[in-house]
């Protein structure tokens, strides 16, 4: 009743092939974007915008990237953190040495460098797959981070090795550095998230995206029907790493204000993998839902004991947090292995025929 495709006629090919071909979906997405751009910065305070929404959005971009690689192209990767680091360090390099290019260009160059690294470390995927591939991406994780911490060139020979991001402007508004307002940083990140989200949606349904899915479902069969596995796998690695690189750069520029290796370690890679699995493999919406869930869950667990009046020491809380986090992941996998995106689909089905049972 509330959600229906019926009566939604298309009269042109363009309408038929638009990204969101169902009217209700379109209104919903446009409304959501408008809400995010206009209303949220007005009602949100510094904590909500700066400590919750910015990390959720940035990590959603990384999750989108990993979802392209793992969810669409079927190549398991544990090196997401390293590709994010590549983006962050190269963007920092460009932002300090070629400052006239501006922040967006620096971030995109960071993304492109990450794409290059991704292709390099994606080469083994042409010969191996599954968990074997996961181990080679671990090589990327450890090798690249080692490179960034041991070669001073990447941090402009700074003594501490953890340089801060220079303040940068975008259309006259500060978007990075300590003085930038939370709203500006939020909107900047949101812009990237919207553009990259729509781009991912489009990529997934174009020729390349179909190639990825064919490779994922059965690589030999895909090869026989004429999909070049070399192109498909390496393009998936390149684009996925580009997304991760942009996310890494945004994380450094708009969230932590420094470039530090600790932000991109192996735990980050696992965190992003969690987001993709909990959100739903092979789903754009799932990447956003998963990122929100994984970022907000620990914060919720941290505060929940106080809300219900339990007085626990911070030690116990942090241990409980890890335990409950682990248990919830197992629980989610058992209850809904296809992730939050699947729940959303089920909800839509329900809304379509409500109030009738079928």
């Amino acid at each position: 009743m509330f959600y229906r495709e019926a009566g939604d006629f298309k009269t042109s090919y363009a309408a038929d092939q638009s990204i969101l071909s169902i009217k209700l979906d379109r209104y919903f997405v446009i409304g959501l974007i408008a809400f995010g751009v206009i209303v949220v910065p007005m009602i949100g305070n510094d904590y909500w915008l700066g400590s919750l929404l910015i990390p959720v959005l940035v990590l959603s971009i990384a999750a989108l990237g990993l979802n392209i690689l793992t969810g669409y192209a079927g190549q398991l990767s544990l090196g997401t953190g390293a590709f994010m680091a590549t983006g962050a360090y190269m963007a920092y390099k460009v932002a300090t040495n070629l400052a006239f290019l501006g922040a967006p260009v620096a971030i995109i160059i960071g993304g492109l460098s990450a794409a290059f690294a991704g292709v390099l470390f994606g080469l083994p995927s042409l010969r191996i797959k599954g968990f074997y591939l996961a181990v080679t991406t671990l090589a990327a994780q450890f090798f690249l981070l080692w490179l960034f911490t041991h070669v001073d060139w990447f941090v402009n020979y700074s003594i501490s090795g953890v340089p801060s991001i220079p303040p940068m402007e975008f259309f006259g508004v500060l978007i990075s550095g300590a003085e930038a307002t939370t709203e500006a940083r939020y909107l900047f990140v949101l812009g990237f998230a919207i553009i990259l989200g729509l781009a991912a949606r489009n990529l997934a349904r174009c020729k390349m995206g179909r190639g990825w899915m064919a490779i994922r479902d059965m690589d030999i069969a895909a090869e026989i029907i004429g999909i070049d596995p070399l192109k498909a796998k390496l393009s998936a690695f390149a684009i996925s790493s580009f997304y991760c690189g942009v996310a890494g750069a945004l994380w450094a520029f708009c969230f932590i204000n420094t470039v530090e290796p600790g932000a991109y370690d192996i735990n980050r890679s696992f965190q992003i993998l969690f987001m993709v699995i909990i959100g739903g493999l092979g789903s754009i919406l799932g990447s956003f839902l998963g990122a929100a869930f994984i970022v907000l869950l620990p914060i919720f667990l941290n505060n929940a004991p106080q809300w219900i009046g339990l007085n626990l020491t911070s030690d116990v809380i942090s241990h409980m947090e890890i335990m409950i986090f682990g248990a919830l992941i197992v629980f989610f996998l058992i209850v809904e292995p296809h992730g939050l995106a699947r729940l959303w689909q089920i909800a839509k089905e329900k809304l379509r025929r409500w109030p009738f049972p079928y």
Partner: protein
């Protein structure tokens, strides 16, 4: 030029001029390799029998060691503590099978893999909550003297660890080869459905495998803990076990041992002789890059079964 020199010439000159030093480095590497092997062994057992890539193995090592050291510190005699820890690990195997695996039968590998990461988090939190996050010494009277063979220095504890690892592998091989349960395990590893159809109860087999993996984890935990104390960095050795698996092959028990030795010796030699040229700490990634290069030539590992794909 100087850089190339430091890669291709100087290390070999150093090795040539000080062979005793090289031997010591290699031996030290082999011993830490045994530790990797013990962790990798747990991986292989579970992967063989259920196809699950058990990321929690490293945390199981930590969890077993924590329980053991915690019970000893609580005043129990060593033997009682050992038996109690074994019971805990068996109970853990029961719980994992009942709560997690049984509900995830027939899911994709990646889902099971994620579930084991969830288990890893859970166990880490549980262990820390019960026993606290302190670093604890573990002293169960392992020999800690040194021997000299010629000019080469050998730690007795390392020889002991090697002996334990060796006897563990022999015991496991005998168990797999000659007991009823062992045969059933091999049958399950070969083909789940065929094993089910001849009446092998899959659930029991999984419990046995996870319990055995838990015992291997306990042995690894005791060895590692008495050398470097029981601390939370133990759980990260799980990641080092992955390249070992690649090198040895995911399904081979001897492969896990030999892979561990190669990785252990290789990364020590690389660190000592080549590390300086790059600013040190190449140990962190050497094993992975070695595995990566190796995969190009032999994707199934040294002893793994050949990967055959059918359309």
């Amino acid at each position: 030029m100087e850089f190339l020199y430091s890669i291709f010439v100087t290390p070999f000159v150093e090795m040539w001029t000080a062979p005793e030093f090289l031997a010591e480095v290699v031996l030290g590497g082999l011993m830490s390799g045994i530790m990797y092997s013990l962790v990798a062994l747990g991986f292989v057992l579970i992967f063989k029998a259920s196809g699950v890539f058990n990321f929690a193995q490293g945390v199981m090592v930590l969890f077993a060691a924590l329980n053991f050291v915690g019970l000893i510190d609580a005043g129990l005699p060593i033997v009682v503590a050992l038996i109690a820890t074994i019971l805990i690990m068996v109970a853990l195997a029961f719980a994992i099978e009942r709560v997690v695996l049984r509900n995830l039968v027939n899911q994709e590998h990646i889902i099971l893999f994620m579930a084991t990461i969830g288990i890893a988090y859970f166990l880490e939190g549980l262990g820390e909550m019960i026993w606290g996050g302190d670093v604890r010494p573990l002293n169960i009277g392992l020999p800690d003297d040194v021997w000299f063979v010629g000019d080469i220095l050998i730690q007795q504890s390392e020889v002991f660890a090697a002996a334990v690892a060796g006897s563990l592998v022999i015991a496991l091989s005998l168990f797999f080869q000659y007991t009823r349960t062992g045969r059933a395990l091999r049958a399950v590893a070969d083909d789940h459905q065929a094993a089910l159809s001849v009446g092998i109860p899959l659930n029991h087999i999984w419990i046995v495998v996870w319990a055995v993996a838990g015992l291997v984890a306990l042995v690894a935990g005791i060895m590692w803990g008495s050398k470097f104390w029981v601390q939370f960095s133990l759980s990260t050795i799980a990641l080092k076990a992955l390249p070992v698996l690649i090198l040895g092959g995911f399904t081979s028990i001897p492969g896990a041992i030999i892979g561990g030795l190669i990785i252990g010796a290789g990364e020590k030699v690389a660190e000592v002789f080549w590390g300086a040229a790059y600013g040190g700490a190449i140990e962190e990634w050497f094993a992975y890059v070695l595995a990566l290069i190796f995969l190009f030539f032999r994707p199934q590992g040294l002893f793994g079964e050949k990967i055959i794909e059918r359309v």
